[in-house]
Symmetry: C2
Subunit: 383 residues, 2 copies
């Protein structure tokens, strides 16, 4: 096991009817800004629950955070925060709204061009406090300190991470997910699945607990993912999926092990260039990463096959192929297509992505050997 | 899954040579009190590492915290803290030292008789900040807010819990455990194993992730427990055992599920009355709780047998008996005896314990149906 240092201070308020507990988490004299997306929370009752819970508190609202949230939108929100003397933010939505709120929390107190936070040119030294009400299990953003933001004007999508942007609390009511469309459920399951794989499918460092925990999350996603579409109002299925998605990226399973975030990095480009859903891009890319990097990842792919998919027969090469197919098939079983051609993406896009990675001098993967040319191989394999 | 609210804010600093990082966690103008036990840290090099790490900091020392730490000793330490104007505590040791430090952190700032904190008559409203350097994996105290203290004068052993006594940080260097005597290693593994069982072996609430996580910890204990005695200097085995013991009682696997702490409650009495090691008492009691409560716990015992011990053949009753035997055999494989008669404890002790539970009006277990008379049955089964 590798050395590590970590603290995750997020307070989780989990379960039925927990939005009503919001008031207790807020100071009476705070001025709160509720930040949300396109208005689905007004259709599913979550908005009303939040407003009811905030009775007696001062608040303003900012709506219109888009999927793959835009820097440009966040900057407008930060401007409004300063104008309105807001001192606490409340993100109500999925990972996009929460990621946006993290960036806004930092940008509102940042001197200079806040895009520098995303590129790494600037460093934040303070951020506004905020809480979240999660409505879409997927990103784990409700219990981590990372954020992914897109600059619409340049089609760039970057991530930043700072312990200053851990939520103070996150309210997770599984009932808020009953009304999600099937595609969003599927994308969320895939996002979580791939988060776990990126903290697991590298080389073996004999970190037994982390491996078992990662496999536990994958098993829950597979078991509940096969049932949720037929049983959309089954509370336990929703609760298990929501809790699994939080654990997929709250940081703990990554501690002491190697990581490979290449699938996310490549996927981000497909979203930035073609607007393909984040979960869909991951479903396209991951089987490619597994296939091209199968020698480096052999031991862990075999372990995944055996422990998660019960693949124990045949030569190592057979088992590796079967395991990659099992992952691909799982994504497809959720109704998500897994080939670039399914989304009308051709070779010119692959060239663009390779060029971007060359320009950034990126070498990805747990060993830093997923060079831009290897990225090309991965994407060609997924045509 | 049941509703829950939880936050675990402890910063973990895990790995080789991490004691040297202590200084960074302490403010330069703090006056630190190092709290430790009987001096084993002076033989295994940990004391020297801590003193080196504190170079440049003001500190005093308090030694002599006993196993099953005494209220009377803690009160002496709290008095010294007030005399010496100490403002930060550093526990260096195992669960006893850390539990004592938690009580001391509260007692030093408590107005009135600090034993009231343990009996529940008093409530703490503040506590001194403290960190820990763990040297004996077992109790999980390094990452939780609980503490168990014994009043020597009355042979009473009680637990208290307060979010005010979460450690600010805990340093976990697996190499500090290389020199532990086999009995302490075994007791630590059993303590962790039983912690997990008490958060798992109740009734099923369909909390899939929590169940898988609990089983993950049990599997690590069984796998590494079978190897650690033959390979005492294998770093990974020690690291896996240390990390598993922290997870056994950092709170997360208990969230959303039912709990049954009867084994610990009964075991505490055996320690209080006969001085039997905490781990040994648990090894005696748990198979009795499983046997007497097997109807209430049937579904989970079957699941434990199947997923952890690979027991899948025979009738449910056969599988339950095999699973209880597997647990008992695991404890014995660690060199720990599991019968009251092995420790010369007779029926008069059982009478005393039943009487104590009657006096306290205790009904234990996830359903509150482990009455004093059921406790008698459990203990008679373990003669």
């Amino acid at each position: 096991m590798n050395n590590f240092t970590f603290c995750n201070p997020v307070k989780i308020i989990f379960g039925k009817d927990t939005i009503s507990k919001l008031s207790k988490e807020l100071s009476n004299d705070s001025k709160v800004m509720i930040i949300y997306g396109g208005g689905s929370i007004k259709n599913n009752g979550v908005y009303d629950q939040v407003i009811n819970a905030l009775t007696g508190h001062k608040f303003v609202e900012f709506s219109g955070i888009e999927p793959n949230p835009h820097y440009e939108t966040c900057i407008k929100c930060a401007d409004m925060i300063r104008r309105e003397n807001v001192d606490f933010l409340l993100a109500v939505g999925g990972g996009s709204v929460i990621d946006a709120t993290k960036f806004i929390a930092a940008a509102a107190l940042y001197d200079g061009d806040a895009w520098d936070i995303m590129t790494g040119k600037g460093k934040i030294i303070k951020a506004m406090p905020f809480g979240t009400v999660l409505t879409l299990p997927a990103t784990g953003s409700e219990m981590n300190s990372g954020s992914v933001i897109t600059k619409a004007s340049t089609q760039e999508k970057f991530a930043f991470n700072s312990t200053l942007v851990f939520p103070k609390f996150s309210v997770l009511d599984p009932e808020t997910t009953f009304s999600l469309p099937p595609k969003q459920i599927a994308n969320g399951i895939i996002d979580t699945f791939v988060h776990v794989m990126e903290q697991y499918l590298t080389y073996n460092v004999n970190a037994k607990l982390q491996d078992y925990f990662a496999e536990s999350i994958l098993k829950v996603l597979i078991e509940e993912g096969s049932k949720v579409f037929e049983n959309p109002y089954d509370y336990d299925i929703r609760a298990n999926l929501m809790w699994a998605s939080t654990w997929g990226l709250n940081g703990w399973i990554a501690k002491g092990v190697a990581e490979d975030w290449s699938t996310h990095m490549i996927g981000h480009e497909l979203t930035a260039l073609h607007g393909i859903d984040h979960g869909q891009t991951l479903a396209i890319v991951l089987p490619g990463v597994m296939g091209i990097m199968k020698d480096d990842k052999e031991e862990k792919i075999l372990q995944l096959g055996e422990r998660v998919f019960n693949i124990t027969e045949g030569s190592n090469q057979d088992r590796i192929i079967k395991t990659i197919d099992a992952v691909d098939n799982f994504f497809q079983s959720l109704g998500i297509k897994t080939r670039l051609t399914d989304y009308n993406v051709g070779k010119e896009t692959i060239d663009s992505i390779v060029k971007r990675f060359e320009d950034r001098n990126w070498a990805l993967g747990e060993k830093g050997n997923i060079t831009p040319e290897v990225v090309r191989e991965i994407l060609i394999k997924r045509m």
